[in-house]
Subunit: 148 residues, 2 copies
DNA sequence: TTTCAACTTGTAATCATTACAATATAGAAA
DNA sequence: TTTCTATATTGTAATGATTACAAGTTGAAA
């Protein structure tokens, strides 16, 4: 896990104040792969009793706006967050709602080459994101049922 | 625009009853590229006075479950719907929230080849969806501001 | 140490979506 | 064509994630 000192530096480097809440949110985000806000609130609350859910939402927003973390969208209707701000793709299983990171520089340059030749009329391409839909062999995360 | 007869047949072929609401929802979906539920409600209401929003939500759900239409996810937090159930990708502009369909069989076979060779450990790939992020030259759809 | 803009907190909205129960209707059967 | 009923629609009331707001707290600059 990333040392607190490094996390603090990242926060500070974006002109934000270093607070226990912000550090804990980033740590939770690294620990809980692609978590929902609610999971982060639960995890961070263990470290910071009295934590307000509002703070987590605010913190997530501010970290996204500073590009320290990212939002990720899935088939489910709740937002999820990504500790990794750099370019990468995702493996996603609709049944289990599990999502894994997928890095593939070879694929990226293949796609870059393809779109360098074939350019799309009226559209300036900035970033290509792949959602690789499928099934994991051993499912981990399971869809959280309502009222379960 | 697709004739009512064809739409009715599609509905019926999935074992659903043909209703004016369902036909109008599908027509609205074809007219309003990748609309949100609220836009569909507004459009369909012009043709069917007294329409209940609940009906539109129900109808959209049932059409998705029968694979007559699709849900699509954007950077915004509201769901959007797609009249085209077949495999295709999307061009998307975060600033304007505009989204266009993108069909590219050449790209699809390129990707198929790539992933036929390079298979991902512990993951059975089913479908590849590209979100092509960028900017349209002439922006059409504009982000709908809260309370605007 | 002092100072104050930036943060956090709790409570109360918001708002897209869903649950539910009553009513209406498509379309199969008679 | 009329009857019948499973299916569909409607209106109203939840739900639940997220946001707004105002009051109190604190990080860190000076
Ligand atoms: Mn912990
Ligand atoms: Mn119209
Ligand atoms: Zn990721
Ligand atoms: Zn589409």
């Amino acid at each position: 896990m990333k040392p607190v000192k490094e996390i603090a530096h990242t926060i500070s480097a974006s002109g934000l104040k270093i607070t226990p809440q912000r550090i804990a949110v980033i740590q939770a985000l690294e620990k809980l792969e692609h978590p929902r806000a609610e999971e982060i609130i639960r995890e961070v609350s263990e470290h910071i009793p009295g934590l307000s859910p509002t703070t987590v939402y605010n913190t997530l927003d501010v970290l996204v706006s500073k590009k320290i973390i990212r939002k990720v969208h899935t088939e489910a209707d709740v937002m999820r967050y990504d500790a990794i701000p750099d370019h990468h793709h995702h493996l996603y299983c609709m049944q289990s709602d599990r999502m894994d990171d997928y890095f593939d520089p070879e694929l990226d340059s293949l796609l870059e080459d393809y779109f360098r030749k074939k350019n799309i009329k009226g559209f300036k391409l900035k970033e290509i994101k792949l959602q690789l839909m499928g099934e994991f062999e051993n499912k981990e995360r399971t869809v959280i049922e309502k009222n379960a």
